[in-house]
Every structure is written in C-alpha cells, then in structure tokens.
C-alpha cells in the first residue's frame, strides 16, 4: 500500500477511496494516516504524523501529556479539521465522510462523558438508540454489555455513584453497544486502579479476538506491551513505531544497565557527572544507564560509586523496556 493515491486532489482521492478501498474487504488497513497536521493558531499540535493500523489489531498510541494524541483522534473522527495531510478510517475520508465513519466506530473520549445524572441502563439505552439499536436487539446488547462490564445488579444506579473502574467499563460498554468495527479509546484507563486496568485490558483482548480494531492511547508503558503495534508521539511527531519487539530491537541504540544500589539519588548525580552515557534515569529505586558497549563501563561505574560511599547490590545488563526506548527516542529526537 502506498500513499500515492492520497496525494492527489481531494475530489480524486474521494473517488479513489470509494472504488479502491471503500468496501471493508478490499483493504487490510482500518486506518491510514499520511502527514496529518493540526495547528492551533501558531502552535502545531500535530506535526505531520503518518501511520497505518491493520484491521483487527490493537494499536497503541503513546506519548506524554500534550503530545498530540487526543488531537490526532479528534481529527480522525471529524471533530477537528486537519490543517494538512490526509487520512482514511475504514476506507472513508476523514474530512468528507466523517458521518460514514461515525456510524462504524465507537469512541471513548478522554474525559468521562456519559451522563452522570442518568442511570447505567438509561445511558446504555440512550447511546444504543442514537446508533439506531432498539427493541429486542437493544435489550440483547445491553444484557451483553452489562454482563461484560460486570455491572449486573447496578442497572438502576446513577452513573455518578459508580467508582472509576465501573465508569470506565460502562463507557466502553456504551461505545460497543452498536457493535462497531473499530474502537477509539482515548486514555481509557487513566486514573483507574491497577486491578480495574487489568480487567479493562482483558475486555479489550476479547473485543480484538472478535475482530474489532482498537486504537488506544495511553501513557502507561506496561499497557503498551499489550499492543500489537505502537506509535510513540512526542511534540506532535511520531518518533518511533512498530511492534513492541521491533521497537525494542531496532529503535534502541546502546544497551541498558540496571543498577540496584543504596542512595540512588546520589548515584544518579555521580553517573551523570561522568558524562559517558546516553541516558541515566531512575525507575522506582533502580537506575538505568544506557550507552553503546555498556559492559566495558561496568568497572569504572562500580569504582565511581564506591568513591562516594554508594553500595552496589546488583548491576546487570537487561533487555530494554519500552520506557527505555521511549526515553532514548525522545532524547534523540530533541538532538
């Protein structure tokens, strides 16, 4: 698949999208994004991002606060008009065919946006009906969703009174009532406890197994490992993409040395002062040091730490985590 078609004038492109990729069977990609740009005044929130999402996969969109994740999703759903670039969702052009897209996708916005003053059941009724799900099918889908979200017995509770985890699962439920081909989830697990997050991801796996394509943004690195494909976005640019394994293999320059020692804060300062490493970062109580040929530096590190009275309990070369890769890439990108 190339983007040549997308570079043409909009009218030609729309025609092409109908003929070539319009029906869902022709194309492997649920989402194709080429050089998408969004400016708010002088400020460029999304700066030419390009990526594809295969049908049926869980695609993770990672990035720190303000990276441009939400802005990208909003453009894909026709809520914001792109300043430049092209994209299609399920074969439909995001600028001219937003209404078509909306019929076939489910969306969980970053801010919880079900109605707090409605009950669980009323919220589901409402969203179901807006998508034209009604009657027996609505009852059937509601039963499915309530069972899936573990909300049995709470149908009549006001949404306001649900705890964070329930709310999140209810919002997911409302987004899948109409059995969309694709889901857009914007930081669905932000602020939710680890057990609820786990439960939520189990639901996502189930949905993906049933063939739903899922686009999910997060800034939890552990969640990124659950995705089949990833894109890291930083300052509006994609700085790395691929499967978690690919990213760890190819996108990382140097190896990671993990140090377990006393006084990690002192140790970090000392290590940074040595000026030999690409990256020195603290992960909980552990220090990660990144450099090409890190093994050669082990003796000098041990010596430097011993001089300031830091006792090293363990020092091992480990496989890089996604977080290491991410930080390394952010740094490279800034250079």
């Amino acid at each position: 698949m190339t983007f040549d078609g997308l570079r043409q004038a909009p009218s030609v492109k729309r025609q092409a999208s109908n003929v070539t990729w319009g029906s869902s069977t022709v194309n492997d990609y649920a989402v194709e994004v080429f050089n998408l740009i969004k400016k708010f005044g002088d400020f460029t929130a999304v700066n030419g991002v390009t990526f594809n999402i295969r049908r049926g996969e869980i695609f993770g969109f990672l990035g720190p606060n303000g990276a441009g994740k939400t802005t990208t999703i909003r453009m894909l759903l026709g809520l914001l008009r792109p300043t430049g670039g092209q994209a299609t969702v399920l074969g439909y052009d995001i600028v001219h065919q937003a209404e078509e897209i909306r019929k076939h996708i489910g969306y969980m916005s970053q801010r919880f946006s079900l109605y707090q003053d409605l009950t669980v059941s009323e919220n589901l009724d409402f969203y179901g009906r807006t998508y034209g799900v009604r009657g027996g099918r609505l009852q059937e889908r509601k039963r499915f969703v309530i069972e899936m979200a573990g909300l049995q017995g709470r149908e009549r509770e006001l949404t306001r009174n649900l705890s964070g985890g329930w709310k999140q699962r209810l919002a997911l439920g409302a987004a899948i009532l109409h059995e969309p081909e694709m889901l857009f989830l914007d930081e669905p697990t932000a602020g939710v406890d680890p057990i609820s997050r786990r439960a939520f991801w189990d639901l996502l796996y189930r949905l993906a197994e049933d063939g739903t394509t899922i686009f999910v943004t997060t800034h939890y690195m552990d969640e990124a490992e659950h995705c089949q494909d990833l894109a890291f976005i930083h300052n509006g640019r994609i700085i790395a993409q691929g499967s978690p394994e690919e990213i760890k293999l190819h996108k990382m320059q140097g190896q990671v040395l993990e140090i377990d020692c006393t006084q990690p804060d002192v140790a970090i300062t000392v290590l940074r002062q040595m000026g030999l490493f690409d990256e020195v970062a603290l992960y909980g109580a552990l220090i990660h040091v990144v450099a090409e040929g890190i093994a050669e530096h082990k003796p000098s590190i041990a010596q430097a730490l011993a001089e300031v009275g830091v006792q090293v309990r363990a020092m091992d070369i480990i496989a890089p985590s996604l977080e290491d890769v991410f930080i390394a890439n952010v740094r490279n990108n800034a250079d």
Partner: protein, 373 residues
C-alpha cells in the same frame, strides 16, 4: 430521524426531572415574577403616606384635610409643626407627600378669596408623582366647587358647565396588573426559553458530553430539535400557569381568543429558542451563557416597551425597538388579552415574528456544527 430526535428529547427530559434546582426555576420563577410585578411594580396610587403641616388650625383647614383623607388617595399619617420636619420625613421616605396649609387659609376662604395651599410630592418615581400630582389638584378643585356651591346656594349640577366623562377602554379600572401580567407572559416565554435552551446545550459542552454526542450518527438538526422539545412544553406550561394566576388571582380578564394566544406564543417560541441555540454556540460555559443572555435581555425588555411605552422613547430608541422581537409579542399578547383583537389587527406583528423566527432559526442552526472548533 424522528426516532433519534425523540431519543434526545427523552434524555433531556430525564435531565430536567433529575435536577431539582432547574425544576424549581422553571415552575416557581414565573410565579415569583408574577407576584412581584403584580404587586410591586404597580403604579396604582392608593393610600399614599402623607404628612400635614396645618399652620392655620381653623375649621376650614380641617375640612380641607378631611377632603384629602376622604379621597382614598392619601393616608394622613402624621401632623408636623414645621417645614423642616416635613422635609426630613420626605427625605427618609417616611411619607411620600405633604400638605402645607399656611396661616390665613381659613380667613381667605371665609372672605371668598382664593386660598393658597402647598402640596409637596416625592418625585423620585415620576409615574407615581404624575398620579399624585393630578390627585392633589383634583381634591383641591372639588373643594373649590364646594365653596362656590355654598356661596351661590346652588348645586353644581344645576350650574352651566362642561363635564367630561372619560371612558378608559380595555382597562377601565386602570389597574397596573392588567397591563403588566400579559406583558409578563411574553417575558417569561422569552427569558425562560432562551435561558433553558442555551444552558442545556452549553452544559453538554462544559461537561464534555457533547464530544461523545458528536461522534454518534445524530444530525445537528435532530440534536437541536430533540433538546428543545421538552423546553417547549415547559414554556407552554409556564404560560398557562402565569395566565391562570393572572386570571384567577389578579382578576385580569381575557377578552380575546385563548387558542390564538397560544398559537402565536408558539410562533414566538421559534425566535426565543433560536436565540437560545445561538447563545449556546457562542458560549463555552454556563456562566458565559448567562452573561450573554442577560446582556441581550435587559435592553430587549426596555426597548420592547415592557415597562414604559415605546411612544415615550426618543426617536432613535424607537427605531431600534423594531429590532427587538419581544416588542411584537407584547403588542400581540396585550392586544389579545386586553383588547380582544384578532389576527386582522395583529397581522403586522405576526409577519414580523415569522420573519424573525425563520431568520434566527436558520442562522442558529447553520452555526451549530458537529465539530469542536
């Protein structure tokens, strides 16, 4: 299309039912306004608190005081010894008027000369002052005629003269309530619907639920219509509520056709709902929306001639008042209730409202997009 619109309307109804405060505003605010306007904003003058400075202290002066008291316009609440005390009482608002009878009044009357008295009026409220001014002169003139009768030994009816019999049409008792209450119905309709529709839409924007709504296949028109349907019912309920209290409590008679009144009220709703939707498209928070609504309402209420007649305004403001939709509704509603007139008389107003309604609705609807920018 209809199903989706009703889905929205049903949801909106649930919001209304669950929100006690809004419910209270919807059903009690008009009643409160009605009682305020019906009682407080009245320019009817009766039993005005009046002080008397009687420097004369003769049977003649006491007769004059009695004449003022008997007129029902004035309550003599106290006698003062000097002008300073009277001035202080007027300043303090203890009394609104003062009768000053100088020494020699009785003598003048007895001698058949013209006797002078002074009457002090608190002119802070010009409407009240006008009425009091006229009433104070009226009492004096009646007293004068009585003197003439006594001197000539004939009754006034037997003397030559012209007697004017004024007939006040439409509001023979000249009760302020009859004028205020029909106007209030129009105002309630206007204020409440603008406010409620604007807030209902802005609330979704403020709470972020609008984003979720926009990605559903709902069309903007379905969203708008669905959201305003419940408020249309609320508006009609309020109209009937105010009307019922007006008729049964304040005794305002309805001379014209009630169904025509409701029909034209519905026409007027197009305009006020349209304005509400427009406000919701410019405001991002409920506070902003309230501010915009008040900025529009205040000039509307004055320019439309709710309190003061348009004819009394300077020409520039009169011209401006043609741009205020409330103006037409006031003419319609006062016309139907007070004068009992029908469509043939109100045609101009109706056409104006049709034009306003259509233009505002189309304008508001085109501004309302399913986008966040």
């Amino acid at each position: 299309m209809i199903a989706r619109t009703l889905t929205i309307a049903r949801k909106e109804l649930l919001h209304i039912v669950r929100d006690r405060r809004t419910l209270a505003v919807m059903f009690f605010l008009p009643v409160m306004q009605l009682f305020l306007m019906g009682y407080a904003a009245t320019t009817d003058i009766e039993h005005l608190r009046t002080a008397v400075l009687d420097a004369d202290r003769t049977p003649q002066s006491r007769e004059l005081i009695e004449a003022y008291r008997a007129s029902n316009y004035f309550d003599i609440v106290g006698y003062v010894e000097n002008e300073e005390t009277l001035a202080r009482m007027v300043d303090d608002g203890e009394v609104r008027a003062g009768l000053l009878i100088p020494t020699g009044y009785g003598e003048d009357v007895a001698a058949g000369r013209t006797a002078d008295v002074a009457f002090v009026i608190d002119g802070s409220d010009p409407n009240v002052a006008n009425t009091v001014y006229a009433a104070s002169q009226q009492v004096g003139q009646a007293q004068g005629i009585r003197f003439i009768e006594r001197r000539l030994g004939v009754k006034a009816e037997d003397m030559p003269g012209v007697e004017v019999h004024p007939r006040v049409w439409y509001n023979p008792a000249m009760k302020s309530a009859n004028f205020m209450i029909p106007g209030l119905i129009a105002m309630v309709l206007f204020t409440l619907t603008i406010m409620l529709t604007a807030l209902a839409i802005v609330r979704e924007r403020e709470q972020g639920t609008i984003e979720q709504l926009m990605v559903t296949p709902i069309r903007p028109i379905e969203l708008i219509v669905g959201k305003v349907i419940p408020y249309v019912f609320v508006a009609f309920f309020d109209v009937l509520e105010v009307l019922a209290i007006g008729v049964f409590w304040f005794g305002v008679p309805i001379h014209g056709s009630l169904s025509l009144l409701l029909l034209l009220a519905a026409l007027f709703l197009m305009t006020s709902l349209g304005i509400g939707i427009f406000v919701s498209s410019v405001a991002n928070t409920q506070q902003e929306a309230m501010l915009v609504v008040w900025l529009m309402l205040l000039p509307s209420i004055f320019l439309a001639g709710f309190f003061f007649p348009i004819e009394a305004m300077p020409g520039f403001l009169q011209a401006l008042s043609y741009l205020v939709p409330l103006r037409y509704m006031l003419v319609i509603i006062r016309g139907i209730i007070l004068k009992g007139v029908g469509l043939e008389v109100l045609a101009t107003q109706v056409v104006a409202l049709v034009i306003f309604g259509a233009v505002i609705m189309v304008f508001a609807a085109t501004r309302f997009r399913k986008r966040l920018e």
